[in-house]
């Protein structure tokens, strides 16, 4: 398995760069993964990442895109509560790219 190294510590990832041990995640690792994905983390990005992690803690899966957009809309206003806003933050797709940065497993299946 490939590894990434952040602040002198080594983290195991899978072939696609998803963190293998979810408990090892921290903000520096997230920053590192985001850089590799050419995503510049802003407060708006962290809002999404924090929501994903909270939801995952409760449900052991990332939220449906619709659940995510609704939650973001409630928090940041209706103009942000749509998938277009999320695609602007995470151009490769909010479900996969945001999950990767949040240290969650990749959603599989027909998505």
């Amino acid at each position: 398995m490939p590894n990434i190294e952040v602040n002198g510590k080594s983290y195991e990832t899978d072939e696609e760069g998803y963190l293998v041990n979810l408990g090892e995640w921290n903000r520096d690792v997230a920053d590192y993964i985001a850089k590799a994905e050419s995503v510049d983390m802003t407060d708006q990005h962290w809002e999404v990442v924090d929501f994903l992690r909270g939801y995952y803690d409760e449900y052991q899966i990332a939220p449906a895109v619709r659940v995510l957009t609704k939650a973001i809309g409630k928090k940041l206003g209706p103009d942000k509560g749509n998938s277009q806003y999320l695609y602007e933050l995470f151009p490769y797709g909010p479900a996969k790219q945001a999950c990767k940065i949040a240290g969650l497993p990749k959603p599989t299946g027909c998505v």
Partner: protein
């Protein structure tokens, strides 16, 4: 007089693309790791005696499936299939010609299973099974989406998908599985769906949808789950609970059930229509996945089983469920017989959601405000497994007409793409058959080329801005690849998404 005579424009004649040998030889889907493989009962990694094991599995399959032996023997290399594959058209790699892909397996078949190949291999194109050959199988049999378009053009009716399935079955048996597909099959066994969506998350999502629809329409449309005694069990791809645009079709199904007053339920234990067991050609996996649905149907006591918008699931349901599980008539074990007594045989078992909706439309049981879809000029992409592996309704070609009939009933503007790209000649979206994975994005983008060309044509001619389809894979694949062709990813959506936009709920008086 002469000045009014104008020469017609040159026609664009489809040509066989220039060959780029080996251009896709390095595009290899990730190999499944030990954990993924052993969960399905396959060896964790390529076994030491892979050579003997592979040939033994091949012998077993040739004995078990007479069709496979016919396909190995019957090909005369006429070339009718060669330029019919979207992956060949898009990649120009000659090994993606259907005939060449099959010959990767056929050459080995000849070497070990035919008299001429055993004694004069050089005369009949027979090859030894070497590690290079095994690797080549892995590469190119994971570049076929099992869409069977080439089979439509084969004068011998060779089902190329079955050859791909056999090759993948052999590869799995020696410990050389594909990560994407096998990981997903494992999730169905352990959690109940391809996504790995546990029941509490599913229930939370459905509650959210009830709130959303109430907010949008003012009507309490339910999304019931695990309701014993419901009339209908809806089996739909788990992407319908998770992804966009999939979820909009789920809302459409719920509105249809609501408007028609049909009681229905989902099952948290059996929350997946997809059956990737078919993609790897493994009967045991295919059956094990399908059995969850029978178990849920018996548990919930439903009278009908309805399948949502999922292409290969409908092929499995329509063509295989009868003998696999006894949904429909076929299997004769006690539970299958119990299920057949339980189901209401006045309805088709199973029923496609499009059949259900169209039956209701024909009986004037649904009303629509078609103008709600006026912003859209709609075209329809036939999904391969529905088009070439199943049927709908009680007439030939129902699987083509019924979805189109629904679109015409709910939208005012509908146009067709070019004939050679629709109905039984439809092109695969480029992501079917277990290839809808990020590690194959190069192949997926290239494989979408012929569909994107046909789409571009109707976009230019008619201003098409919505391509409807009834498959979760097609929806996810197009959402991803449309932007590579300068289209908006939201140009693709479901047939029941259009139904959802137009259907009239509740009292209007």
């Amino acid at each position: 007089m002469a000045e009014t005579v104008v020469a017609p424009a040159y026609r664009v004649i489809p040509i066989i693309p220039e060959l780029k040998p080996g251009s896709m030889g390095q595009v290899r889907s990730f190999v499944a790791n030990e954990k993924i493989q052993t969960a399905l009962g396959f060896p964790g990694q390529v076994v030491d005696d892979w050579h003997e094991k592979a040939l033994a599995k091949m012998a077993e399959l040739l004995g078990k499936y007479r069709s496979l032996k016919v396909y190995m023997d019957a090909c005369v290399h006429c070339g009718a299939c060669s330029d019919k594959c979207h992956y060949f058209i898009g990649t120009q790699d000659p090994k993606n010609m259907p005939v060449a892909r099959q010959d990767l397996l056929r050459s080995v078949y000849r070497r070990y299973f035919t008299l001429a190949g055993k004694y004069f291999p050089w005369l009949v194109g027979a090859r030894d099974l070497t590690r290079d050959v095994l690797d080549e199988w892995y590469t190119y049999f994971n570049q076929c989406s099992e869409c069977r378009r080439c089979s439509v053009f084969c004068p011998y009716g060779i089902d190329t998908a079955e050859v791909t399935m056999a090759a993948r079955e052999i590869l799995d048996s020696v410990g050389y599985g594909q990560k994407y597909t096998n990981e997903i099959i494992g999730k169905v066994h352990s959690i109940g769906n391809n996504l790995g969506l546990p029941a509490p998350a599913l229930i939370d999502t459905l509650q959210g949808l009830e709130e959303d629809v109430k907010e949008d329409t003012g009507v309490d449309v339910r999304f019931p789950i695990d309701v014993k005694g419901a009339e209908v069990l809806l089996i739909t791809p788990s992407a319908d609970f998770f992804a966009e645009p999939h979820i909009d079709s789920l809302i459409g199904y719920a509105k249809v059930f609501h408007a028609a007053g049909i009681s229905w339920t989902l099952s948290s234990m059996s929350s997946e229509a997809g059956n990737f067991g078919m993609f790897i050609g493994n009967y045991d996996q295919l059956r094990k996945i399908a059995m969850r649905i029978r178990e849920a149907a018996l548990e919930l006591g439903v009278k009908r089983i309805v399948v949502g918008e999922c292409g290969h699931a409908w092929r499995v349901a329509y063509s295989f469920w009868n003998t696999l599980t006894g949904i429909g008539n076929g299997a004769d074990d006690p539970f299958a017989l119990q299920l057949q007594r339980q189901l209401d045989q006045r309805y088709r078992q199973p029923t496609h959601i499009c059949e259900l909706t169209w039956d209701l439309i024909e009986r004037n049981a649904l009303r629509f405000n078609k103008e709600a879809n006026d912003p859209y000029v709609v075209t329809f992409h036939d999904s391969c497994n529905v088009a070439r592996g199943s049927r709908m309704g009680d007439f030939a070609g129902g699987q083509f007409e019924i979805p189109r009939n629904i679109i015409r009933a709910v939208a005012n503007h509908f146009v067709e793409m070019a004939d050679h790209t629709t109905r039984e000649k439809t092109f695969c979206c480029g992501g079917g058959g277990g290839l809808l994975t990020d590690d194959l994005i190069d192949l997926r983008v290239k494989g979408a080329l012929p569909r994107m060309e046909a789409l571009q044509e109707v976009v230019d001619l008619h201003g098409v801005n919505f391509m409807a389809t009834i498959c979760a894979i097609c929806k996810a694949q197009f959402s991803k690849v449309l932007p590579y062709y300068k289209f908006d990813r939201r140009l693709v959506g479901g047939v029941h998404q259009l139904v959802s936009n137009a259907i009239i709920l509740g009292e209007t008086h």
